[in-house]
């Protein structure tokens, strides 16, 4: 007898997977548009309603399928479902009639892959759904059909295929080493395998393409600006996290201390966090800036992943913080991306309100007190304290985090600046506004009721921040604001000079 | 019972030859149908008798050797008798429709046809050298006559050439026979063998054998003595060509083979055996090569005969000083090759005749588009071609398989190469015809559609050639039946 949760899990994947069949009938195109927000609903119910621990055995599937949910996967599933829901609402208002059916088909497929991979516990279905997401995502990237979109699509696809191959090789090696088709058996087997380093390298690189690891990130700044706005939101908010999830469920955390790999990841994370900011502040397109911001944020997460690899003792704690950070970033970044597509109302008060709502998720990323960002940043800071970690480069983590925080706010400011230059005044389709507002609401409010659990953190904004923490959060922000002000002044000066 | 069968077998053809001399073509045809029925029944009856009871010697008219006419009725002989009945009746029936009854000289077709048939039966069953000679002459002369029925000047030229070759071959053979008689004092092959059993081999007796084989090789058109064959077979009317290629050349080969198998071991030598094999191989390669280059359909088929005959002569090296089993394999292989080539080549010539009739031209390129409008005749041709290429499951393949095994078993691997190359070359000329016929031509059906009966006959022969491969073990098992020495009533 199947439990309700497992039925729901099947439904959560099957619904978006079968939804493209609606495209067969040209008359259903309107229904398809308005079905977009409904697709992730079973997953949403599953993530919110069902307690972790259910299992769904699908012995006929591939090499024997098993779907299940634990705390980690629950958070990822929640993030994915929420983000796709709000983006779906937004998309229903955003999309034009041209090639609408095609977009919906790829939307459904990508969504099915993204949701499915978070609950898949066996290698076969995990990898299948991951690949489905990757390849169907191409359809979202190139949807607009412009030359830039095609170019971005090509880069995306080449890197994605290379990534898939690396993942395949890594999973294959690990699976043979473990003599098992379940993900859960892999970390131990990898840790004990003579080909350990090769497998780790393949998996880091393979999932790293999705997660925007430096040097594997090239597709991100190309693909995000050209994709339709709701697609960018899910690409950056949810799909990028799929790569992260891939790492978390396959790499040998907690099985063996790998200081070498940890250090490497920390370096990569640092390069990503700061390098992306350096590149990002020089961009003209708001969505490109956001793409770099995503790389930068993922860099911060990679710092934690690196720490978890290096220190096997701390890995379980770090896991919950990584999940929290991913949730926070996904929601905030999704909201920011969605804001890139709205137009301003005419009244001054309303304009100010809209600007505020646009800016708040951004500031949350930067760690504005009373936001999810503050919580996540503090938790991260707490967990990466030097004295708690036992490996060589641990001492560099704190300064890196500060630099990351500065970088984050700079990018957000840059985004607001460039958006200010592009944004137009006019009316928004109601669905679009609803979607965006929902994303803002989720990021700022609903976050607090989400089932994240971190040791020592309470689920309430009032708790935060105590005085000393306030300062810890604020001073990097102040530096960033100062830097931004200097930059602004400098550019004014330069402009005046050139006018004279 | 046996008496009646033997009498029927040997005398009906002669009687019918005389009968048909008195009629014109159309009535001769009717008469012939009756004769064919009798012959087929008698041949079948004899075959069944031998298959049941084993073979025997038969003294014709009750006189025994060395005085009388001695016949050797063994499994092999009756198999060939039956083969003759099948092929000859097919050709006869086909000719009855195919040959134009209005040309006055065509009335001679039937007598010649029957003389040929009786000659063939004599050769298959003949036990002594002189009887064999008589049968062979009967065959040669009627065959020449049949070729000449083509009527035109070049048909006469070809038949004259054929006649000269046949006579020359006979002379050489007779010379050998005379030498043989001088040395052994008997013309019976069995007699010679039993003489050799007690006496040492006399010097120079190899020469007699060589002469006889040479004469017969000329009649069989072994390379390089093949030049007379393609014009004769190419120019004759199609049913005649079929008879000539399928049966007539086999008769002289049959004699050569019998001589070699009985006398080769004591009288022959290795070099001679290899030489004959080499000539056979040359025939395979050269004949196939020329077949690829002929512009005319029937010339292709005729040169193919030259090539296929070449295979037959591999019998000589593959049976000389080899083990019993290898020799048996070689003999079986050659027997199958004779049968399957007879069936396939008859089918091919008859089908080619139909195609020429339809296309109105003898040229290969005239076949363009034929597969669209005349699939049936082409299909018969194609099936026969499969056997010639010795692809499975045809009799040609079974034959080749056995010859391959014999070559491997005797360590004479070079014949394998010949067979493989020969197979590929034969594919080349067969596919050349296929290719031409598959070319699509725009435009409507411009072909004459021959009568259904003309189309069915080659198809049956081709199917027999095809099925032979599957049934070859059964066919060969008749050969292996016990032979009752001394004869029976």
């Amino acid at each position: 007898m199947m439990s309700p949760a497992s039925v729901l899990a099947l439904l959560a994947v099957a619904l978006p997977l079968l939804y493209p069949a609606m495209a067969l009938n040209a008359g259903w195109v309107r229904a398809m548009r308005f079905a977009l927000p409904l697709l992730p609903l079973p997953a949403l119910v599953l993530a919110v309603g069902a307690d972790p621990g259910w299992q769904l055995e699908l012995p006929w599937l591939l090499n024997g399928g098993l779907w299940a949910m634990d705390e980690l996967r629950r958070l990822f599933l929640l993030l994915t479902a929420v983000l796709w829901t709000v983006a779906g609402i937004y998309a229903a208002g955003y999309l034009k009639a041209h090639h609408l059916r095609r977009f919906c088909v790829f939307w459904g497929l990508t969504l099915a892959g993204n949701l499915g991979l978070t609950v898949a516990v066996d290698i076969g279905s995990f990898y299948s759904l991951f690949a489905l997401m990757t390849f169907a995502g191409y359809g979202l990237v190139v949807h607009e059909g412009t030359d830039e979109a095609t170019h971005a699509g090509r880069v995306y696809l080449i890197m994605a295929v290379l990534g898939e191959m690396a993942i395949l090789a890594g999973l294959l090696l690990a699976s043979v080493a473990a003599d098992s088709q379940m993900l859960a058996d892999l970390p131990r087997a990898i840790a004990g395998s003579p080909r350990r380093d090769l497998i780790i390298a393949l998996l880091i690189a393979g999932f790293g393409v999705k997660a925007g690891l430096p040097l594997l990130h090239f597709w991100l700044p190309l693909a995000h600006p050209v994709a339709p706005t709701p697609a960018s939101a899910v690409l950056s908010g949810a799909m990028i996290k799929a790569g992260l999830l891939g790492w978390l469920v396959t790499l040998p955390f907690g099985e063996a201390a790998l200081p070498g790999w940890g250090a490497l990841m920390i370096v990569a994370g640092a390069v990503g966090a700061i390098g992306a900011a350096v590149l990002g502040v020089r961009q003209q397109q708001p969505k490109t800036v956001l793409a770099y911001s995503s790389i930068s944020q993922m860099g911060l997460i990679v710092l934690m992943v690196g720490a978890a690899m290096a220190d096997s003792e701390r890995a379980p704690v770090l896991f919950s913080i990584i999940a929290l950070y991913a949730l926070h970033h996904g929601l905030a970044k999704g909201s920011l991306f969605l804001s890139a597509g709205i137009t301003l109302p005419s009244g001054a008060m309303r304009r100010a309100a809209v600007w505020l709502l646009i800016a708040l998720p951004g500031l949350s990323l930067a760690g504005l007190p009373f936001t999810s960002g503050a919580l996540a940043k503090l938790a991260m800071k707490e967990s990466l304290l030097e004295e708690r970690l036992e490996f060589a480069v641990a001492g560099y983590l704190s300064p890196l985090m500060v630099a990351g925080a500065v970088a984050t706010l700079l990018l957000v400011l840059r985004y607001l600046w460039t958006l200010n230059g592009k944004i137009e005044t006019g009316r928004n389709p109601p669905m679009l506004v609803t979607g965006w507002l929902a994303s803002v609401g989720v990021s700022l409010v609903a976050f607090w009721w989400m089932p994240w659990e971190v040791e020592g953190l309470v689920k309430s904004p009032e708790w935060l921040p105590a005085g000393y923490q306030l300062w810890a959060l604020a001073w990097p922000m102040l530096i960033a604001v100062a830097l931004a002000a200097v930059a602004l002044l400098a550019s004014r000066l330069v402009r005046q000079r050139s006018l004279q | 019972m046996t008496l009646w069968l033997m009498a029927g077998l040997l005398f009906t053809p002669l009687a019918w030859a005389v009968l048909t001399l008195l009629t014109d073509f159309s009535r001769g045809r009717l008469v012939t149908w009756g004769g064919i029925l009798v012959q087929v029944l008698v041949s079948l009856g004899l075959w069944l008798t031998v298959a049941r009871d084993g073979g025997f010697h038969y003294g014709l008219g009750g006189w025994q050797a060395p005085l009388g006419i001695e016949l050797r009725v063994d499994g092999l002989a009756v198999t060939f008798v039956l083969l003759t009945a099948v092929v000859a009746s097919a050709c006869g029936l086909h000719a009855g429709v195919y040959i134009d009854p209005d040309k006055p000289w065509h009335r001679y077709f039937w007598p010649l046809f029957w003389f040929l048939w009786s000659g063939l039966n004599v050769v298959w069953l003949g036990g002594d050298l002189f009887n064999l000679y008589v049968g062979l002459e009967l065959i040669s002369l009627s065959a020449v006559g049949l070729v000449a029925l083509g009527g035109k000047a070049n048909a006469l030229r070809a038949s004259l050439r054929y006649l000269l070759a046949a006579l020359l071959g006979s002379l050489v053979y007779l010379l050998g026979v005379a030498l043989m008689y001088g040395q052994f004092g008997t013309l019976s092959i069995a007699g010679v063998v039993s003489w050799l059993g007690v006496h040492p081999v006399p010097a120079g007796s190899g020469l007699a054998l060589a002469l006889m084989v040479t004469g017969l090789a000329l009649k069989t058109a072994l390379f390089p003595l093949h030049r007379w064959l393609p014009p004769a077979h190419g120019i004759a009317r199609s049913p005649v060509s079929a008879l000539l290629s399928a049966l007539v050349v086999k008769a002289s080969f049959y004699m050569a083979a019998r001589l070699w198998l009985e006398l080769g071991e004591p009288l022959g030598n290795l070099a001679a055996a290899q030489l004959v094999g080499l000539l056979g191989s040359a025939a395979v390669v050269w004949g196939s090569w020329l077949a690829c280059r002929q512009p005319q359909l029937k010339q292709v088929v005729a040169y193919s005969s030259v090539a296929q005959i070449g295979y037959l002569f591999l019998l000589f090296p593959l049976t000389y000083s080899v083990s019993e089993s290898v020799s048996l394999q070689a003999q079986q292989g050659i027997t199958l090759q004779v049968i399957s080539h007879a069936l396939a080549k008859a089918a091919m010539f008859l089908a080619a005749g139909n195609l020429i009739l339809s296309a109105g031209s003898n040229r290969v390129d005239a076949l363009t588009g034929v597969s669209r409008f005349l699939p049936f005749s082409l299909f018969s041709f194609g099936l026969a071609g499969v056997s010639l290429m010795s692809l499975p499951p045809t009799g040609g393949f079974a034959a080749k398989w056995l010859l391959l095994q014999a070559s491997l078993g005797s360590g004479q691997w070079w014949w394998i190469l010949v067979m493989l190359i020969g197979g590929l070359l034969s594919a080349a000329y067969v596919f050349r015809i296929y290719r031409a016929s598959f070319l699509e031509s725009a435009g409507p059906d411009r072909f004459y559609h021959p009568a259904r009966s003309l189309e069915v006959i080659p198809m049956i022969l081709a199917l027999l050639a095809l099925g032979l491969g599957l049934a070859s073990d059964q066919v060969l098992s008749v050969m292996a039946l016990p032979f009752e020495e001394g004869g029976s009533p």
């Binding site: 699509g153 | 669209r372 079974a398 398989w401 290719r435």
Partner: protein
Amino acid sequence: MTLNAWIPVFALMTSLIASLVIFALPEKGYRLRTWVNLGAALVKLSLVVVMVWGVFQGVEYGLSFTMVPGVTFVLKADALSMMFAGLSAVLWLLTTIYAVGYLEDSPNRSRFFGFFSLCVASTMGIALAGNLFTFFLFYEMLTLSTYPLVVHRGTEKALRAGRTYVIYTLTGGAVLLLAIAWLHGVAGDLPFREGGHFMDADPDIHRSLILIFILLVAGLGVKAAIFPLHGWLPQAMVAPAPVSALLHAVAVVKAGAFGIVRVVYDIYGVEASSALGVLEPLAWLAAFTILYGSFRALSQTDLKRRLAFSTVSQVSYIILGISLFGPVAAAGGLVHLLHQGIMKITLFFCAGNYAETLGIHRIDEMDGAGRRMPGTSVAFTIGAFGMIGAPPLAGFITKWTMGSGALAANMDWVIVVLLSSSLLNAAYFLPVMHRLWFREPAGSWPEERHWGRLETSAWLFWPPLLTAVMTVMVGVLASLPFSPLSWAELIALREYSP
């Protein structure tokens, strides 16, 4: 003899008799011919299903008689033969349906379907052959019956291709014959037997055995299109689409690959082959062919030629799989026999649909065809992703199984080959996908025809969709009993523990 002895014969006869009936039917007997075709295909399919069930239960089907002195004609159904027979029975049905639609209103249909059935009869014979001799018999019959199909169009180009085809295959056949005859001389009449015959062969004949093995592989390799014997395959693409589909997916190339499987497993025996040292060179050759075919496919501009080189590459997976010593890799190779068939036939059906409906032959004409022909294009997409090895499709199961097997056999380099091949496959299929779905059509199609409600004729529309669904199903449901993977594992198990 019992009924069980005759069931293989019936299975063979269904298409043989169908062929003869069709030859006898007049060209205009369209309806009757279609019924004969479909009826025979269905009867054959049900016979195969019966045998599959029986073989699974351990029933022996087969008959034998002496054909030529010393050799027997053997028909026998074992697990491996049922794999091939099942493939040909299923795909024959679909291809027949497809061909009926494809050749609508074209001349020479009687001839086409006659030879078509004959070709399937040969395939069936190849599947059910119980020794090399019988195998060879049907193998050559296949050559002959496919020639008229290749040259069916009757153009100069078709005839040239047919000539190349015949030269290659008949030469291969001659080499094969030599090898079989030699083997027969060395070891006698050998029935196919799991585990082979040469486990403890006399060391004196090792040299001969190795030479014979090389000859066998060379002879069979022509049809299996192993480098450098693949030259005929791309040329044969001039044939009508159903023929290409059949040649590639089921009949010809598979016959070669199947023959090699038979030789390695049921004549030599995998352990003996390994001990003779012939497997590893074969694996290298197969690996090279895999990469070579993919490289050549990259530069083809004609859709069918690209698919042809893809076949060159894909068929060698089978050979690679069986030449890696180990049951898992073996299962991977064997299962590809089916998987490649299903995927490739999908692609060829689709290529045919594009050509018939829109007149598209070259890849650069395919822009935007996905919108005009969504059903076909979906099928094409699935087939192509299957070829790339994207999960959860058929090709992925192959690659995963074979990769696991290679690692288990300590042949890590195979992974590199598999991945590179996947990359190359992606490189030549993904741009086609892009054109199909994301480019705007260039204006009018080269030669468009309309069929009313569906995007193309219903006869052409459904077969590729069905095979596409099968491509998905054999992948997704790989763990079900009677799935290709389970069946391949059964065969591998029987081979490795006879």
